[in-house]
């Protein structure tokens, strides 16, 4: 009796925390956008502890975020080749000049 109760308890605890890789990737992404519930946090922890692949996924998401942050930095050289067309520059200068007068 006691044993079967313990087994049931164990199974329900395991089931409670168990989540598939698919669910975990969704939770990992969701956690990047807002504070998720403690249960969800534990689901992620529990899953990542045993799943190396989802750990890679999480690292990739972090890499993505840091790269995006880098694109925002003024010092980043990305997109330096993009310049205003000289015709656009002239137009803007003229507009500013006219308005200034």
């Amino acid at each position: 009796m006691a044993d079967s109760f313990r087994e049931k308890l164990r199974d329900s605890v395991l089931n409670f925390f168990a989540s598939t890789c698919k669910d975990t990737t969704q939770l990992v992404s969701e956690e990047m956008d807002h504070r998720i519930s403690i249960t969800k946090q534990w689901k992620i922890k529990f899953h990542l502890a045993i799943c190396e692949f989802c750990r890679h996924y999480k690292e990739q998401m972090e890499t993505l975020r840091n790269l995006a942050g880098y694109l925002n930095k003024e010092g980043s050289k990305i997109g330096n080749e993009n310049q205003l067309k000289s015709s656009a520059k002239e137009r803007m200068k003229k507009l500013l000049d006219d308005k200034e007068k």
Binding site: Q26, F53, L67, G69, Y70, M92
Partner: protein, 192 residues
């Protein structure tokens, strides 16, 4: 030169390209970006007297530009919905899972320390390329969330999206970018 004095005759030469690059990364379309930069200069000229000299001319112009970009996104919202639609791009990683939700194609490590990712200019360049392959809607959401770093509540309020739809769309966007980056990383490995 005194940094706190306004000199509008120099704006286009001094800041034109800077402001344009900043806008293009967010808006993608070159004509629209040009227009936004131009409106920024005009708005700045009108507000010239209000420039308090608390910041530099450059910071002040960028402040106005950011407002103009957000206005642009709000304007789009009026003509096109930002919300999740049934025919929206599906999750590109959907096929990576089997019926039980386990990985079919196991993710492999990129061999990149996420904290050091910003030292990797090449990868950042790939990301910029991959962003341009996103649909306009997903690209905008990614820009607001990850480039601008806006909180999801703010984005939901600005663009009338429910939080759960926003998270679904951001999740799909990230998966799409992950796949695209992987293609680049894989090509690099096989080519050299």
């Amino acid at each position: 030169m005194d940094q706190n004095v306004i000199d509008s005759s120099q704006w286009v030469d001094r800041y034109g390209n800077m402001l344009y690059r900043f806008t293009l990364l967010r808006v993608k379309d070159d004509e629209q970006s040009e227009e936004i930069v131009q409106n920024t200069f005009l708005a700045a000229l009108q507000a010239k007297d209000k420039f308090a000299g608390l910041s530099t001319e450059k910071t002040w112009l960028f402040g106005i530009l950011k407002h103009k970009i957000m206005d642009h996104f709000r304007r789009i919202k009026k003509t096109k919905t930002f919300d999740l639609e049934p025919d929206d791009d599906r999750d590109p990683c959907q096929s990576e899972f089997d019926g039980k939700g386990h990985w079919q194609a196991l993710p492999i490590s990129w061999g990149i320390n996420p904290q050091k990712a910003t030292e990797n200019q090449e990868l950042a360049r790939f990301l910029a390329t991959c962003m341009d392959k996103l649909s306009d809607k997903y690209r905008r959401l990614f820009v607001l969330r990850e480039i601008e770093g806006m909180r999801s509540e703010e984005i939901c309020a600005e663009l009338d999206i429910t939080p759960s739809n926003l998270w679904v769309m951001l999740h799909r966007t990230r998966n799409q970018l992950k796949k695209c980056l992987e293609t680049h990383l894989f090509e690099k490995k096989t080519n050299g």
